[in-house]
């Protein structure tokens, strides 16, 4: 199965999104995001900030402020392995972050 996204993030870490996750998870719950793949890629490459999930330390959460998309953040969650490879598990627009998420990267 091929990857729909395979990029280096702003820190030089490889991040991928498999077809299974994109079509089977992300679009299964949000079919209207079918045209958002470039926004998701851009969020990984040029986020406004990156957080670490409070309950899952291996999850890095990318946020990009998208003023052109009705003024909200695009949030992308990637699960990292010990080789610093990230695998996207979810992506959606949000109007804030979560209180317990810690910022681990800012430009």
């Amino acid at each position: 199965m091929s990857n729909v996204i395979e990029v280096e993030d702003c820190r030089g870490y490889r991040v991928i999104c498999t077809e299974e996750i994109w079509y089977g998870k992300i679009l299964a719950s949000r079919p209207w995001m079918a045209g958002w793949i470039e926004f998701v890629r851009e969020t990984i490459q040029s986020p406004s900030f990156i957080c670490q999930d409070a309950n899952h330390k291996e999850r890095h959460v990318y946020y990009m402020l998208h003023v052109t998309k009705l003024n909200r953040y695009i949030k992308v969650v990637a699960k990292f392995n010990s080789k610093n490879e990230g695998f996207i598990i979810s992506a959606f627009p949000a109007d804030s972050g979560k209180k317990k998420e810690n910022i681990i990267w800012m430009p």
């Binding site: 299974e20 996750i21 089977g24 998870k25 299964a28 719950s29 949000r30 079919p31 209207w32 900030f49 957080c51 409070a54 309950n55 946020y63 009705l70 003024n71 909200r72 953040y73 949030k75 969650v77 598990i89 979810s90 959606f92 627009p93 949000a94 109007d95 804030s96 972050g97 979560k98 209180k99 317990k100 998420e101 810690n102 910022i103």
Partner: protein, 145 residues
């Protein structure tokens, strides 16, 4: 995270859509993703664009970005954190008979309507202290789903 600006105030979100659902047969979409451990509950078609509005680290409202109408809920850390906190929800949440597993997605949209409704109602009741007044309207709308 408080340093990150909240873009839409909770008070700005509307419940007109939910109010209009009372007495009508509302569409119910329930989707659980076991990789992300996230449950989505929608009283609108999943084809309608929504934005996530966090109320705490587990519970979020889903609203339409153009009209700011609340149309559903998103519960994160659903099985690991949320379900164990509520006995009545634990009773109705049995993955093995709640849905049909397709790949690694539990597609509750394929499950029986009655099972979906029980899960949806218990989720809304459990989240009521966090959601506040819109929870009553969600519950009322679910009565006709």
């Amino acid at each position: 995270m408080d340093a990150i600006k909240r873009l839409v105030a909770t008070e700005s979100l509307k419940t007109t859509f939910l109010s209009r659902l009372a007495g009508k047969r509302a569409p119910l979409f329930l989707h659980y993703d076991d990789d992300a451990d996230t449950l989505i509950l929608l009283l609108e078609s999943p084809n309608v664009e929504t934005t996530v509005h966090y109320l705490n680290d587990d519970v979020a409202l889903l609203y339409t970005p153009d009209k700011l109408e609340i149309v559903g809920l998103q519960i994160e850390d659903f099985q690991s954190e949320f379900v164990p906190m509520y006995n009545s929800l634990q009773k109705v949440w049995r993955l093995s008979d709640s849905g049909v597993k397709s790949g690694n997605v539990w597609d509750l949209t394929l499950a029986t309507q009655g099972r979906q409704l029980n899960v949806a109602l218990e989720v809304v009741r459990a989240a009521q202290p966090v959601i506040g007044p819109p929870a009553k309207q969600l519950e009322r709308a679910l009565e006709y789903a």
